[in-house]
Amino acid sequence: MNKILFSSVSKKFVMAVAGLFLLLFLPVHLIINFMLLKNDPAPFNSAAHFMASFPLIKIIEAILFGALLIHLSYGIWLQIQNWLARPVGYAGGNKSETSFFSKFMIWTGLSVLTFMVLHFFNFYFIKLGLVPGNPQDFYSVAHNLFKIPAYNYIYLVCFVLLGLHLFHAFSSGFQTLGLNHRIWTPVVKVFAWIYSIGIPAGFAIISLTLWLYR
């Protein structure tokens, strides 16, 4: 049983499934965040309240955290094994042609994780009552945060790094699941471009609009 669960192919499979599930969450988050651009706080706060209280969403949230934990722990585990597989590197460097963003997946992933911890302190932990704040008015919490230039800098850098992570992750996930096809793989790669640019750009537009124009 251990051979099935912990073989290199199985670990990659689990990581890919968890990662692709996480990809579904980002567009939902972005759509809700666009409500921050309205002058009326009610739609955003209602959506936030719905996301925090609807039972089905609570189940999905638990799965989401599970997927995040699995993706993160398996990612670190696989990376450590990869480092151990080449204890002595090339003195003259490795100039092999490769997917550029794939070289930095562990670092872009850990950077996004660091931002998520900050994000939890600013929002999720308020909802749980672990950090002081008004969980009924996340609209104001978000607007106040986006007034701080340093927060915007961190936010924008993290979303650029997320975009770099997503670009390789999207098509790599399909390849790991064995879904490589003469016609569909190029289509997946186009979607990877659209997704990895579109999603971070959407979050960045909200940050820049609230910071510079409100």
Partner: protein, 209 residues
Amino acid sequence: MLDALNKKLIEANNDPVAFDHDCREGICGSCGMFINGHPHGPVSAITTCHLSMRYFKDGETIWIEPWRAKPFPVIKDLIVDRSAFDKIQTAGGFISVNTGAAPEANSIPVKKKNADEAFDSSICIGCGACVAACKNASAMLFVSAKISQFALLPQGRVEAKDRVRAMVEKMDELGFGNCSNTGACEAECPKEIKLTNIARLNREYYKAY
């Protein structure tokens, strides 16, 4: 170039540089070495033995290293022990056929597409360039080529599940890294083995359980 270098070293009573070679026709895979940051040198789709000096500039410094991977320990200078590949192949890279008269070759129809793809996978020479190029020292391209050449043909389907389980298990046991789909293996393979083989290996593995 290495022969010329070694001639000079021997004439000066120095030890020659140890390097591996056999066929010098680009089909045995024994001449692998890391040249100027690339397995088999900077020219694509050829082995080291086919890498001519005309591909380098006059007076250029050429940087040569052995393959670097934990499962490929360096024996001496540029020679590494690639027997890890033999162990993976022995674990399942074969078909079991009863002895006796050879069966009629055309009794089992094979699609032309499958035959072509199986042939393309079978031309892997097991040189180890994929492992050398991969930042994770992963052997997935090699193993997937060996899996594919059998999985695509009816004769190989019989033991397909046992084969993929055994070969992946042996690959993991030997300490190769994990595939992160960087594509370096495909870019550097002297026989142009495709990444589609790795997707096929993944599919075969999932089907095996």
